[in-house]
C-alpha cells in the first residue's frame, strides 16, 4: 500500500452468487490524481466493479482500499459515510432530482457529508462556481426545472455535483453514452479539466474506446479480470 494510491485492489473476487464469481482481479492500483479509462463491454462486470469501488457492495474475497483505508471490514454505515465524504458519482443519465433546482442538485452531497460541506465553504457559491466553470453560467439564475435542460447540460450539472466539496475520487459510469459526439468531447474536456483542478482521481467506465484519448491511462477490464463472464446477462449490466 502506498501513500499515493487512491484505489488499490488485491485478489478481489466477487460474484452475485458465491459459486459464480464474475470478477477476479489479482491487482489494480490507481494513483491519486490519475484519470483512468476503464474499458468494459456491457456484461463484463464493470458496473459491479463500480459498486464495489463505491463501497456499496463487498467482495467475497480480497481487499479494496480506498485512500489507504480497507473498506471490506467496515460496516455499511461507515462505507456510506465514506462514500459521501470522498466519492463523487456520475451516472449514465437521469442524475438529477427533478424537484430541486440546479444549485440544490449540485449541493446535494453537502447535505450528506460535513467534510464536503466544509471543503466547499459556502455550498451555494461553490455550486455556482462549478456550474459556471462547466459552462452553465447563463442558466444559474433562471429557476429552471432540471427536465428543461438538455441531456448534455444535465450531465454537466451532475458532474458539478460529483465535484463539489472536492471528493478524492470520482466514479463515472458511461456518463456520455446519451450525448452526441460534439457535446461528448466538450463534456469530457470539461470533466477532465475540473478533475485536474480539484485533484480528483477519475475512474471513467465506458465501452467506447474512442473516448480513451482524453485519459492518462486505459485499462481493459477483460484483461485484468481473470474470469470470462458466462453471458452478457445477469445483474452486472
Amino acid at each position: 500500500m502506498t501513500d499515493t494510491a487512491a484505489i488499490e485492489l488485491n485478489q478481489l473476487r466477487f460474484g452475485w452468487k458465491a459459486k459464480e464469481p464474475i470478477l477476479d482481479i489479482d491487482r489494480l492500483l490507481i494513483h491519486k490524481g490519475e484519470q483512468l479509462f476503464l474499458r468494459g463491454a456491457s456484461g463484463s462486470g464493470k458496473s459491479t466493479l463500480l459498486n464495489l469501488l463505491g463501497g456499496l457492495m463487498l467482495p467475497q474475497q480480497g481487499q479494496i482500499s480506498l485512500l489507504g483505508e480497507s473498506l471490506e471490514k467496515r460496516s455499511q454505515r461507515y462505507r456510506d459515510k465514506f462514500r459521501a465524504d470522498h466519492i463523487g458519482v456520475l451516472f449514465q443519465q437521469f442524475n438529477l432530482l427533478p424537484y430541486l433546482n440546479l444549485v440544490d442538485n449540485v449541493t446535494l452531497p453537502c447535505r450528506f457529508s460535513n467534510l464536503r460541506r466544509q471543503r466547499a465553504g459556502d455550498p451555494d457559491s461553490a455550486a455556482r462556481e462549478l456550474l459556471s466553470a462547466l459552462g452553465l453560467h447563463e442558466y444559474l439564475d433562471k429557476n429552471l426545472q432540471t427536465a428543461e435542460l438538455s441531456i448534455g447540460q444535465q450531465q454537466r450539472v451532475a458532474a458539478a455535483r460529483a465535484l463539489i466539496g472536492q471528493p478524492e475520487i470520482m466514479l463515472a459510469d458511461e456518463p456520455t453514452s446519451a450525448l452526441d459526439s460534439d457535446t461528448r468531447d466538450q463534456f469530457l474536456s470539461l470533466l477532465s479539466e475540473q478533475c485536474q483542478q480539484n485533484g480528483t482521481t477519475l475512474i471513467f467506465v465506458s465501452h467506447d474506446l474512442s473516448l480513451s484519448s482524453h485519459f492518462d491511462r486505459v485499462i481493459n477490464l477483460a484483461e485484468i479480470n481473470q474470469l470470462k463472464p458466462v453471458h452478457e446477462t445477469g445483474a452486472s449490466c
Binding site: 458496473s47 463500480l50 459498486n51 463505491g54 456499496l56 457492495m57 455499511q76 454505515r77 456510506d80 459515510k81 462514500r83 459521501a84 465524504d85 458519482v89 451516472f91 437521469f94 442524475n95 438529477l96 432530482l97 427533478p98 424537484y99 430541486l100 446535494l108 452531497p109 447535505r111 450528506f112 457529508s113 455535483r161 466514479l171 459510469d173 445483474a235
Partner: protein, 418 residues
C-alpha cells in the same frame, strides 16, 4: 433530509393531495362517528339528572322514558289526577313534576306542567332551569318556551302562540280560540327541554274544556274568559317525575307504584332505563364504528398504492440519493417519514373538516333530531386513541414501501435497473 422528503412529496403533490384527502375523509368519518356517539350519549344522560323515578301508565320502561323526557314517541295512556296526588303526597316524596303531553306548536311539543317544573327539573350536572327572559306562569294563558323554540321561530316575550291539537306538524285542529302569550324564555340547556313549550296544567284543562276525544264538542264554545271562571283542576296527566327525600327508598316506592291498586302504573329509574336504551343504541354505534374502520383501511390502502407506485418511478431518485451518500437506513426513514407526514396532515385536515362540519350542521341536528353536538374543540380522550391508532396505521403502512425501497437500494446500488 426531511427537506428533501418534503420537496419530493411536493413534487408529487397531485397524487399526494388525493391520498391526503382520502385519509382526511376517513379520519373525518371515524372521529365524526365517535363524536356523534359520545355527544348523543352525553345528551341522553344529561337530560334527566336528579330525578329518582319516572312514573307513567304501564307500558315498557323505554317508551315511558322516551316520551316523558325525550320527546320521542307517543304516550300510551294517561294517569288519573287522583293517583298522582296520592303518590306525590307521600312522606318520602320530596318533589314531583306532573307532565301532560299530546299537543304541539309548529312541530314543537307542548308540555303541560306546574311551577314545580322550573323549581325541580335538573339537567346535566344537577343544573336547574333558568330564564333568559321573562318568568314562569303568571296568567292562565302564559307559555314558557325553550331556547331552541325561541330561536327557530324567532319568538320573544309577549308573542301570541296558538297551540295545535295533537302532535306533529300536520295538525289542523287549532286551539285558536284560546291563544297564549310568551311569558318566559328559558336559557339553552342542550336537552330536549329547549324544544318544549310549557303551559300550566290548568291552561291545558282550559283549552280542552270544550273538547272530547280529539274533536271539539259540537255546539259547545267556551271562550277564554269563560274558561277562567270554571274549575280547571286537571283530571288526567301523562306522566310525572319524582324526587325522593332519600335515595334509599327508591326501590320501595318503585315497588309500591308498580303494585298500585287503583290503576296499572309503572315507575322506572331513569339511569337504568337509559342503560337499557344504550344497549340498543350500542349495536348501531358499533356498526358505524366498524364501517368507519373499514373506510380508514380503504384510505390506507389508497396511500399504500400511491407510495408503491411512486416508488417504481423513484428508483432513480433513490439511487441518486444513495450515490451521494445516503445510507439505506436514511432512505427507509425518508419513506416512512413520507407516510407518517401524509397521515399526520390527513388527520389534521380531517379534524378541521370535522370542526367545520360540526359548526355547519350543529343547529340543524339539534332542531331536526334533538341531537346536541358539542362545539368543535380539542379531541376527546377516545378521539386521541382513535387518532393515535390512525397515525400508527400510517406508520405501519409506510413500512411496506420502505422495506421495498430498502431492498431496491441494496440490489440496485449505483445502477438502478428499470
Amino acid at each position: 433530509m426531511l427537506i428533501l422528503a418534503l420537496r419530493s412529496l411536493w413534487n408529487r403533490r397531485g397524487t399526494a393531495s388525493l391520498t391526503l384527502l382520502t385519509i382526511a375523509i376517513s379520519v373525518l368519518l371515524l372521529t365524526g362517528v365517535d363524536k356523534l356517539r359520545h355527544d348523543a350519549r352525553e345528551g341522553f344522560f344529561n337530560t334527566v339528572s336528579g330525578t329518582d323515578l319516572i312514573v307513567g301508565a304501564r307500558s315498557g320502561s323505554l317508551p315511558l322514558l322516551l316520551y316523558s323526557v325525550f320527546n320521542i314517541g307517543q304516550p300510551t295512556n294517561n294517569i288519573r289526577w287522583s293517583s298522582y296526588q296520592q303518590i306525590a303526597n307521600q312522606d318520602q316524596v320530596a318533589w314531583s313534576i306532573p307532565i301532560t303531553l299530546g299537543d304541539s306548536h309548529r312541530g314543537f311539543r307542548v308540555v303541560g306542567t306546574t311551577d314545580a317544573y322550573f323549581e325541580h327539573y335538573r339537567f346535566g350536572k344537577q343544573q336547574p332551569l333558568t330564564f333568559a327572559k321573562g318568568h314562569a306562569f303568571d296568567d292562565l294563558f302564559d307559555v314558557v318556551i325553550g331556547a331552541e323554540v325561541a330561536r327557530a321561530l324567532n319568538y320573544t316575550l309577549g308573542d301570541r302562540v296558538v297551540i295545535a291539537h295533537g302532535l306533529g306538524r300536520g295538525s289542523f285542529a287549532m286551539h285558536d280560540d284560546k291563544p297564549f302569550q310568551v311569558s318566559g324564555i328559558l336559557q339553552p340547556t342542550g336537552t330536549p327541554v329547549d324544544k318544549n313549550l310549557l303551559i300550566s296544567l290548568e291552561a291545558w284543562e282550559a283549552i280542552h274544556i270544550d273538547w272530547r276525544a280529539g274533536t271539539r264538542i259540537p255546539g259547545m264554545n267556551v271562550t277564554a274568559d269563560e274558561a277562567r271562571e270554571m274549575d280547571l283542576t286537571p283530571k288526567q296527566i301523562t306522566a310525572f317525575l319524582l324526587g325522593l327525600e332519600s335515595r334509599m327508598s327508591t326501590f320501595h316506592i318503585q315497588r309500591a307504584i308498580n303494585n298500585f291498586r287503583a290503576e296499572p302504573l309503572q315507575a322506572i329509574l331513569p339511569g337504568v332505563a337509559l342503560q337499557e336504551l344504550w344497549q340498543v343504541m350500542s349495536i348501531a354505534e358499533k356498526t358505524l364504528l366498524i364501517i368507519s374502520g373499514f373506510v380508514v383501511f380503504a384510505g390506507f390502502t389508497g396511500m399504500l398504492g400511491m407510495l408503491l407506485t411512486s416508488l417504481n418511478e423513484r428508483r432513480r431518485e433513490l439511487a441518486v440519493l444513495r450515490a451521494v451518500g445516503a445510507s439505506p437506513f436514511r432512505i427507509v426513514t425518508l419513506l416512512i417519514f413520507e407516510a407518517v407526514l401524509l397521515t399526520f396532515l390527513g388527520i389534521l385536515l380531517g379534524l378541521i373538516l370535522l370542526s367545520l362540519l360540526t359548526l355547519g350542521i350543529q343547529d340543524w341536528l339539534a332542531l331536526e333530531y334533538g341531537l346536541f353536538l358539542s362545539s368543535p374543540g380539542w379531541p376527546s380522550a377516545s378521539q386521541w386513541w382513535l387518532l393515535g391508532a390512525v397515525q400508527l396505521a400510517g406508520l405501519l403502512t409506510g413500512l411496506i414501501p420502505a422495506w421495498r425501497a430498502y431492498r431496491y437500494t441494496l440490489a440496485d446500488g449505483l445502477t438502478p435497473r428499470l
